[in-house]
């Protein structure tokens, strides 16, 4: 997943990630557990996450 600059670090994606793959510290960072399922995309209020292409 790709996180762009509009991420504010609210942590919503991390709480809804079923794989515990997101760490938030001022902004969201995906770790190696990410399986690119894309669930975080729709939970992001800032529309900051997109599929990594």
């Amino acid at each position: 997943m790709k996180v762009d600059k509009t991420c504010v670090g609210c942590g919503q994606c991390a709480a809804f990630c079923p794989y515990d793959a997101i760490v938030v510290f001022g902004r969201a960072f995906m770790n190696e557990k990410c399986v690119e399922c894309g669930i975080c995309v729709e939970y992001c209020p800032a529309c900051a996450i997109s599929e990594d292409k």
Binding site: V8, A15, E42, A46
Partner: protein, 411 residues
């Protein structure tokens, strides 16, 4: 009569519940997959964190939000904090909030009583900031620190960025409604109960439904376009703030556009801690005026233990953001917590920050421009249009009350 509501945050749901009770057919559209906006619960590691607010209602069971919840029959148990608040002094000693006067000289104490009584009655008409107001009359280090701590905790602002008249409105309301409370079940219990009111009145709430456009005809809001579909209505209420709402229709009012662009959002950082033992030991606000960044802390499990796994405590700190370096701001906050609780063991569950497109408040306190728009039958509610002197969600409730008064929907 049909009302369309854009956004299922606290403002949208309060408005929806009021209108539903008044006989309107209500349809709410929320773009996210869940309702509640920044007043919802986030289940995380067995704790009930929140999407935004700190599971606290600034004026507890007596305030405007509690009043609205009662009016619409939303069943929420608000546990009033006792003590209301504690202040941690420079030397680490804790004092009751009301005893802050004992920390200043007798001369200043007498002056405080008279100046405050006068200023509450005759609020300053100038744009003097709360910090400058405190400096002008008292020039007291402790009062200045306390002002920053209070403004940071409750408004995510430094005292220098809050107009004194807005702060005096807030002090007025503190005398009137008193201190804070914790909604049993957290923020999510409040927004969940409001959604129940809307649904039981026959209203609909759609999630994952992004409104593309507000339909205007003859300067009246006539409905919305959602995923290509037109939904007609007699009234549109937006919980998205003035700026985002104005982007959804062709706004021709230059004066209004200029005013809404001068609105400043507020930024904040919340650090959520999980602990095996109490860190502060009471359900009130713990003001930390001498910390470098942390303005205040609460321990909501003192009021509602169900917000954490059994035997654990959920502690949340809040700080205004003072620089553009968010990582550094967070690190200073974390160091503050280490210094505040040196002997205690706790886990940092999550660090949450709010700014820009998802701020603490779309319109920081004192920069609100009301609930009206240049378009008839189109109103703004929520944190982008709080009522005067309303701290956070109390301001959201006051804003909704203003709109209801405008619409002739009585209590």
């Amino acid at each position: 009569m049909k009302a369309v509501i854009i956004g299922a945050g606290l403002g949208g749901l309060l408005a929806g519940a009021k209108l539903s009770k008044a006989g309107y057919e209500v349809e709410v559209f929320e773009r996210l997959p869940f309702i509640g906006g920044r007043f919802a619960n986030l289940d995380y590691k067995g704790f009930k964190l929140s999407t935004g607010a700190l599971h606290m209602i600034p004026h507890g069971s007596r305030g405007p939000l509690a009043q609205l919840l009662r009016e619409v029959g939303a069943h929420v148990n608000i546990i009033d904090s006792n003590p209301m608040a504690i202040i941690r002094k420079d030397d680490g000693e804790n004092i009751e909030f009301h005893d802050f006067r004992n920390e200043i000289s007798i001369t200043k104490r007498v002056k405080l009583a008279t100046i405050l009584a006068y200023s509450l009655k005759f609020k300053p008409k100038s744009d003097i900031s709360f910090r400058d107001w405190v400096l002008k009359y008292f020039d007291d280090e402790f009062l200045l620190k306390l002002a920053d701590s209070f403004c940071g905790w409750s408004l995510s602002l430094k005292a220098k960025d809050v107009p004194a008249r807005e702060m005096l409105e807030i002090i007025d309301k503190m005398y009137l409604y008193k201190g804070s409370g914790v909604p049993q079940g957290g923020c999510g219990a409040v927004t969940g109960a409001l959604a129940d009111v809307i649904r039981s009145g026959g209203g609909k709430i759609h999630t994952k439904s992004c409104v593309d456009k507000i339909i205007i005809d003859g300067n009246r809001a006539k409905g919305v376009k959602v995923s290509g579909k037109t939904v007609d209505s007699d009234l549109v209420i937006s919980d998205m703030g003035h700026q985002e709402t104005a982007r959804m229709y062709e706004c021709m009012d230059d004066g209004y556009l200029m005013r809404i662009n001068s609105v400043v959002p507020s930024k904040g950082i919340k650090i959520c801690l999980g602990a095996n033992e109490p860190l502060i030991g009471h359900s009130g606000v713990y003001f930390t005026p001498y910390a470098e960044r942390i303005n205040g802390i609460n321990e909501v499990t003192q009021a509602d233990p169900s917000l954490a796994p059994q035997g654990k405590h959920l502690v949340m700190s809040h700080q205004a953001v003072l620089s553009d370096n968010l990582e550094e701001e967070i690190n200073i906050g974390l160091s503050d917590l280490k210094r505040l609780f040196p002997e205690k063991k706790y886990e940092v569950l999550m660090v949450q920050s709010y700014s820009g497109g998802w701020p603490v408040n779309r319109a920081s306190s004192g920069t609100e421009i009301g609930n009206m728009t240049p378009v008839n039958d189109l109103y703004i509610v929520g944190d982008g249009a709080k009522g005067k002197g309303g701290i956070e969600v109390e301001g959201v409730a006051l804003g909704v009350m203003n709109v209801m008064r405008e619409l002739g929907v009585s209590s």
